[in-house]
């Protein structure tokens, strides 16, 4: 077996699972050293796969249903098409972000509306669960009240967006 980076005999074999997808890589001793493959705990195979044209996986057929951007489009232009793309392409994106940025978690400003949106969503969820429970318990009076509250909340959130 040949090394992923040079033509030498591969002696180090890596397997890593990123977002449920298995990636395998074979490296020779010196490339493994050079890439810092000394501590498997700190190793991201994604950063090694970076810029590797040989890398093929099921992601090749990914397409964003919302805007039509394909994995091929993203690889070619480096741009995504819409908000939903970030869900669709997350598995291929996350390993790239590692090498691109200082970290992979947002530590900056949070827009106030997104906070409001989140609390609305959360309480909607909570109400829905409570409603389901009331129905299961055949407590129809409570269920009716919860249903009205849920309706009101939904009307509010659709009015603000």
């Amino acid at each position: 077996m040949k090394c992923h980076h040079c033509e030498s005999q591969a002696t180090v074999h890596l397997t890593q699972i990123i977002n449920g997808q298995m990636h395998k890589m074979d490296l020779c001793e010196s490339c493994a050293q050079e890439k810092g493959v000394t501590n498997p705990d700190n190793l991201s195979i994604g950063s090694l796969l970076d810029n590797q044209p040989k890398f093929e996986s099921s992601s090749a057929s990914m397409t964003c249903e919302s805007c039509g951007t394909t994995h091929q489009d993203f690889k070619k232009g480096g741009r995504l098409g819409c908000e939903a793309c970030y869900h669709v392409f997350r598995p291929v994106l996350e390993p790239l972000l590692d090498g691109m940025h200082a970290g992979i978690n947002h530590l900056g400003k949070i827009p106030s509306r997104s906070v409001e949106r989140k609390t609305v969503v959360e309480s909607e969820d909570a109400l829905r669960k409570a409603l389901q429970k009331a129905v299961e318990e055949e407590n129809y009076e409570k269920a009716a009240e919860l249903r009205d509250r849920l309706k009101k909340l939904q009307a509010q959130s659709s009015a603000t967006t």
Partner: protein, 357 residues
């Protein structure tokens, strides 16, 4: 090692005013929820985004006194002038449909619509002042956000067309005049060293532009994984180090080969006073030396301000603006030379024994 200098904090504060830094800019990339990003949007969707954004921007307090323009209404020349003044990007100037820009009357804020992202919020100021510029950009952004729903993800931050802008969506940059590092051939080393720190160096007009006039745009490359203030602090430390390196390079040039430097500056003075045909890149290189001469005290302070003004006015769009109509490159070179001769007519002899304070 040269490289190591960029990792340690410089001792003490950078002296103010800082003539090496020409201007500071903070740009925030934002997108609306429920619309595809401009690169993927249909014509109708782009139109909807434009009118939605312009309507919202009208009501933002920080843009109370501002002008909003749709790119379609502007001539080629108007667009070029906005680019040369750094008020819109080259990308927006080439937009074929539904591009827009809102400019505050004092020209400190500009919000571009339907560039690479739905919104590009930009704040500009003279000199080096991240604190002031970020404060205004933050307030402007919050004002806009109270009217529009941004595409935002808890983990990835503000969602942008290009993943290189994710997170804060913030690109902070400073325009720096670095003739000492260029002449001493140390600029490549600086670029390499700061690249390792996630900081990019580009020419005067951003990506792909050349570095005529020894003017460089230095900005953060990474936008995710750090807060806005952390990014700005890191950039500030690096910039202070570059200023320090530039000062040392200038001193060394003067010490080692002062006569050559004086000769260069003096020839630049001669060229500006006597040219009849001049291209913008040559003009910028001469202006750069005039600015340097003012920094050394060889020329009165007011010539630095004049050089800074002329950096913009020698650009092709601005030469045509002064002509009042679009003109061919050959004619431009002639008009540019005429303007420079007039402006630098009264430039005095170099004072090679300046009083240092």
């Amino acid at each position: 090692m040269f490289h190591d200098l960029f990792f340690s904090k410089t001792k003490g504060k950078a002296p103010k005013p800082c003539p090496i830094a020409l201007s500071t800019r903070v740009r925030l990339a934002r997108n609306l929820r429920e619309f595809p990003f401009p690169g993927r949007a249909q014509s109708g969707q782009k139109k909807a985004v434009l009118s939605k954004c312009l309507e919202a921007l009208e009501k933002v307090t920080d843009l109370k006194t501002s002008t909003s323009v749709e790119l379609d209404e502007l001539s080629e020349l108007d667009r070029q002038i906005l680019v040369e003044r750094h008020l819109i990007s080259l990308e927006l100037s080439q937009s074929d449909e539904s591009g827009g820009v809102v400019l505050s009357d004092d020209r400190s804020c500009s919000v571009m619509v339907n560039e690479e992202d739905h919104l590009r919020i930009q704040v500009l100021s003279n000199g080096l002042d991240f604190e002031k510029v970020w404060k205004l950009a933050d307030s402007l952004d919050s004002g806009i956000e109270s009217k529009l729903d941004y595409a935002f993800d808890q983990q990835l931050g503000f969602l942008t067309a290009c993943p290189t802008n994710l997170g804060t969506g913030m690109r902070a940059s400073v325009m720096m005049h670095l003739p000492g590092l260029v002449m001493s051939k140390n600029m490549d080393k600086v670029i390499n060293a700061v690249n390792h720190l996630g900081i990019a160096v580009r020419g005067l007009f951003g990506e792909g532009s050349d570095a005529s006039g020894s003017i460089f745009q230095i900005s953060n490359q990474q936008t995710l994984g750090e807060s806005e203030t952390a990014i700005l602090e890191r950039l500030q430390v690096t910039l202070e180090n570059i200023v320090h390196q530039e000062r040392m390079a200038r001193e060394k040039l003067l010490e080692d080969d002062g006569m050559r430097l004086v000769d260069k500056i003096s020839r630049a003075v001669g060229s500006l006073k006597n040219c009849y045909l001049i291209q913008s890149s040559e003009a910028m290189d001469h202006l750069s030396l005039i600015r340097l001469a003012a920094d050394f005290g060889f020329l009165p302070e007011k010539f630095r301000a004049l050089a800074d003004r002329m950096f913009i006015e020698v650009q092709p769009g601005h030469v045509q603006l002064s002509a009042g109509k679009p003109i061919e490159p050959g004619e431009r070179d002639q008009l540019r030379a005429e303007t420079l001769r007039k402006e630098f007519l009264r430039m005095p002899q170099l004072n090679l024994d300046p009083q240092v304070d």
